[in-house]
Symmetry: D2
Subunit: 419 residues, 4 copies
Amino acid sequence: MLDLVSLRRDFHMHPEVGFTEFRTASKVVEILTSLGYDVIYGQDALDGPSRRGLPAQGVLEEAYERALRDGANPAIVEKMRGGYTAVIGVKKGKTDGPTVAFRFDMDALPVLESTDGDHFPEANGFRSRYEGNMHACAHDGHTTLGLGLAEKLANGDFAGTLKLIFQPAEEGVRGAYSIVQKGLLDDVDYLFCQHLGVNVPLGEIHGGSHGLLATTKMLAHFHGVSSHAGASPEHGKNALLGAATALLNIHAITRFSTAATRINVGVLEGGTAANIIPAYAKMIVETRSETEEVNAEVEKRVRNIIASSAAMHELDYAIEVIGAAIPINYDEDMADLALEEARHVEGFHSFKKGEYNAMGSEDASFMIKRVQERGGKGTYMSIGTDIPAPHHHPKFDIQEEILPRSVELLTRIAKRLLT
Amino acid sequence: MLDLVSLRRDFHMHPEVGFTEFRTASKVVEILTSLGYDVIYGQDALDGPSRRGLPAQGVLEEAYERALRDGANPAIVEKMRGGYTAVIGVKKGKTDGPTVAFRFDMDALPVLESTDGDHFPEANGFRSRYEGNMHACAHDGHTTLGLGLAEKLANGDFAGTLKLIFQPAEEGVRGAYSIVQKGLLDDVDYLFCQHLGVNVPLGEIHGGSHGLLATTKMLAHFHGVSSHAGASPEHGKNALLGAATALLNIHAITRFSTAATRINVGVLEGGTAANIIPAYAKMIVETRSETEEVNAEVEKRVRNIIASSAAMHELDYAIEVIGAAIPINYDEDMADLALEEARHVEGFHSFKKGEYNAMGSEDASFMIKRVQERGGKGTYMSIGTDIPAPHHHPKFDIQEEILPRSVELLTRIAKRLLT
Amino acid sequence: MLDLVSLRRDFHMHPEVGFTEFRTASKVVEILTSLGYDVIYGQDALDGPSRRGLPAQGVLEEAYERALRDGANPAIVEKMRGGYTAVIGVKKGKTDGPTVAFRFDMDALPVLESTDGDHFPEANGFRSRYEGNMHACAHDGHTTLGLGLAEKLANGDFAGTLKLIFQPAEEGVRGAYSIVQKGLLDDVDYLFCQHLGVNVPLGEIHGGSHGLLATTKMLAHFHGVSSHAGASPEHGKNALLGAATALLNIHAITRFSTAATRINVGVLEGGTAANIIPAYAKMIVETRSETEEVNAEVEKRVRNIIASSAAMHELDYAIEVIGAAIPINYDEDMADLALEEARHVEGFHSFKKGEYNAMGSEDASFMIKRVQERGGKGTYMSIGTDIPAPHHHPKFDIQEEILPRSVELLTRIAKRLLT
Amino acid sequence: MLDLVSLRRDFHMHPEVGFTEFRTASKVVEILTSLGYDVIYGQDALDGPSRRGLPAQGVLEEAYERALRDGANPAIVEKMRGGYTAVIGVKKGKTDGPTVAFRFDMDALPVLESTDGDHFPEANGFRSRYEGNMHACAHDGHTTLGLGLAEKLANGDFAGTLKLIFQPAEEGVRGAYSIVQKGLLDDVDYLFCQHLGVNVPLGEIHGGSHGLLATTKMLAHFHGVSSHAGASPEHGKNALLGAATALLNIHAITRFSTAATRINVGVLEGGTAANIIPAYAKMIVETRSETEEVNAEVEKRVRNIIASSAAMHELDYAIEVIGAAIPINYDEDMADLALEEARHVEGFHSFKKGEYNAMGSEDASFMIKRVQERGGKGTYMSIGTDIPAPHHHPKFDIQEEILPRSVELLTRIAKRLLT
């Protein structure tokens, strides 16, 4: 039987950021296989071109080598090489029935974990071994929940199909979309996603959370022509002039009366030297809105501003979407069902639905939307745990007692529907 | 015989700005006709669509009515209605020979003439009768010179053809181009243009002046969509955002290593009320350069910036050229010829060529260029007169003794070539 | 007895915009005086320097002369000369009691009234006689209500004091503040303000309306130095460069997470000619927010951007507040009391409270806040009337049957509290 | 006797960039000492705080260690630690007389030297051993000339004082100023500076070169406050908004009628992530002009724009000058004297003065100006050598035959004046 705490601590010690979850995903494949699941992974588990914000090839390779050094199964991980790090475990029940899916995200963050003595992982010897990376958003716990659930239902003693989706690159809202585009949500009738923590206290559970914002994260490249700034400035095509013009006008996009919005140019970098007309600049832009429609309109305006700023200074440009999410509209009956089951699990005593407690965005939204578009239902649950420091903080941590409790909840939900 | 001083003072009292020189041009037609010249005027004397910066219809009509009230010949001026105020007087000599042309500009400025007792026109009763308009750039003198010259050569006792070109709208460099486009310079072998004053002292003459800048003056219109700034800002398309973006980027056009440049956005106006997204803005832009090529490149960049700023904010736009000039490259032998003749005219004692003494631009440049392109020659002369105040100043004036002297010079030049 | 319909139509025919309500205010003074009220007006009724967006002196004088021509009482109106057009009628009751105030706004709009045959005022001979001005926001009705109420309570048969406040310049949210600053609200215990129409149908009344936005409207002046753009651009200090920089950065002020905001630069005008570095520019900026605090912060940022843009281009600048309002928080019990009384007035059948039906701002907000700050209470009511066209539209009109009904309501409210 | 070619090749193999010339300067000290010169170096040879664009401490230390490994004298180089890499050799003559100085720059460039077989240093085994650094601007030759000259005059058989100035960090115009500020030019009567190459062919010499531009290179830092762009954008102070506003307005600085100018923002970098309001940005700005006065005015405007852009967005800022130069006005008689002496040196056959053949700036200008300010004289000579590729190019090289010839010229000049 799986030791959930050991499992979580192993993941915690080996935090892998988005699309480099080679070791983590390899372990997941091994365990699911040992439990008798059919396992889909590698290029079968996601649509390569739909991955957003894929790291550079060198970064992927370095992480791949590290995973091999640290115990990833070479035969398995080879299929994930280049950032194909999604894993889907499928178990068919003894009789026909609906397809019930659960989603677990596996990636870590580029955060340097605390070495303070009062930081639980440090004090207990499972601090990150990958300096500068850290599981500071509970995905080590999420992955553990998925494996725990897999074990509980490994006997297939149910009607229908269980589908466990282990997703890469939730941070930056980058990975879910590529799994959806591979068609892997198309047969799902019920989908449950969840997050530990998110400012919900231990003992409380939210059966459905909404209010997560639609967002698009874009990386824009401006390509001009360099020239000596003293000798022949007129031969240059100034990438920074284009980018700065875009930056000001992007921030100047008007408010919408129909939904709150947010706009940020988070990064601008260009030029090489004092005396050279800058030939290249890059910019990272983030849009958000309460509605998918308004976010799409703001994104459209950002794209037009970038295109026009480039044209204004005779630059070439390119825009990559490096992250995106849409709002989540959970199904009331799924949320209610989850709360009903939670009432049977010891340790939960506060039962809610409604506004998400943490600001932000989630790309599980694409999965839920796809299920709903095809007639299925879904929800996004917030499962409480007290946290010593905010999400993404060097001293973030979860209470490990939430792990078995959550596995029990998910098991109850699955069994309730797989009939 | 014409009284040059009376003539100049009559013009001075009735200053008409560009394309409204109805009374002035009517007088010119009358006098040329009385001297036996063939006179081309109205739509035959310029190409209507090539006029730049034409005043609004209402302004033209008002000036037309005023001219009728103040003695313009109705039969003549009717043909000029709507701003067709160029006049060309042609006199064929007794035998064949070259075509020699002189150019005189007739328009006044929107300047309020001084009422100080020490201002010569005020003291001598010929201050402007059109409040707010003034001959503050000597064009009253120029027109007088043209008529004086016409009289001297009225007998046609020469070989070849004399062509006297009375041009509207030199201020703002707007009128010459339309005469060129009508083809009226195409048969000219020698062209002489001149300016009185321009910081050359009495007694000095420059046989050729260069250094006048190429320039383009553009009026840009930005058309967006208004909307209530509180209730539905997202429905607006903000013309002022587009215009302000254009303004900054136009000023940011880079220096050229090949020629000095100047760029100015002289006017920006847009919007109607605090709570309305501005639906319209207009902008007046001026470019200049030492060379026609660089000015053309700067103009091209300005146009691209305006187009891109409009596109950036989903605006329609239009650009009108309301004025333009190119540099003047006078022919050395024409300048030398002028100086040689000047040595025979009493009153001139300093003889030069070279850099223009006054900053600025001249649309006679288009005429000289056209003549040169077709194998002819031309020059632009600066004829000295002391001035009590700078050009365009409310107390500007010329010394009237320069009038007969200049007529004599032009007559000598014409006779020298018409052989 | 007053004929409310005739009164309203007289006001409708003589629409006077903000701070030029000379004829209207003169009539109000005459009627209040005839009814035995103590009347405060002229410089006693408002604080001159606190008036926002005062028209130019010439405009005030022209309107003053027109009022005299059209029947304003010369002895009265002389005290209003220069835009002192507030009037306060005070009636002391027979015994002591609270001070109950009502506020009525008198100004019209710069809207050209429709001449269509189906426009009721046109069809019935009381279309505006002041071309280009129109009562298109029901203030003619409001003023009439105030006089009707004055008549009903003229006998002073109540306990306490009745205060009727006739305000100039509500449009542009400019006049109320100057009355508050004069201290005229300081002794008020209960204040009732109301608007006819505002998308509430006939028969419905809202006892209290909130959701009106805080707003500040600013006129900024940028003063630089002109210079010839060709000859000596470096001697200029470019007002338009400063203003355009301010414009872009004002629009780029970030969103607030704590309250919705709006920002608009409604007008930008600067410069005189293509070849002159612009020495002057002006800009009208409007900020809004759901909360007074956030609006104040946005206003502060706008001011800083203007100051910094001016400093950046070595310009002098000045900022005038030409309009302002704050949100209204009505007192629940006052709204309830109004609704209770409305139930006793024939014609009302729908009774509500809550969100204001029309987008916008109201400077009665300053009056209500002052009363509340000093321990009193207040509300802002919306009294329904069907309207054939939106507020501020050339075909706007009210149903005159609402006039006596509203007078009855206000009278009941006053009597209820004056005990 | 020194082998000039070996010396030059040794320097070429060990190219050290500005303020890291530890090995080079150590060798210079050793040789000057061995020749009996008084040698000033370390903190005595320059004013530490006046060094511009000093590399980071880590970079300095790494270069220091490398120099020790590659043969720098530990006792000498220790005094240079931290970037004190100037060396002054002084030789007093047998009798009194004037002080004659020569200046030689020692630093290399961050250029990767060519490995092509036809590149002379590669083919002859003295290509750079410091990958990525290269003597691509002839300073290896300059340093060699200085030592050759030192040897020729080592006997002190002259009247007056010889001063040989070996300067760090000419590239980026960073080092000369700190030597001037230390007062080391204050006693100089005659100063000769020279450059090999600069588009002058072998056999030609320019006794004086002018036209080098005044320039200032600034590094600006903008410090704001980060905040989550979704959750609380209003708590951020956006460094990139300030920097982009500065960038546009710096480019928009007007043309000057009195001197050509150049302005470039060569680098802009800021921000960390899509969802964070950027708290920091840096910008590198370069100004240039034909005159020191106009460059100073443009620099002043740049500083004001940066300060105002920072104030506009409530940012702190700092500006460092990381490089500067002024124009050179050589003394005609010094240039003539140099040409006279050159006529006696075999190999020179073309003798000129005037416009500098290469675009750019030189901080020897500060040295010449200081000498001139104190009544001395100076010149900047261009000594021809054919070059296979432009300055700063990976295949740049000089003809080594120019070395002894130039030493002879400098020796003649020195002897002529030291009498």
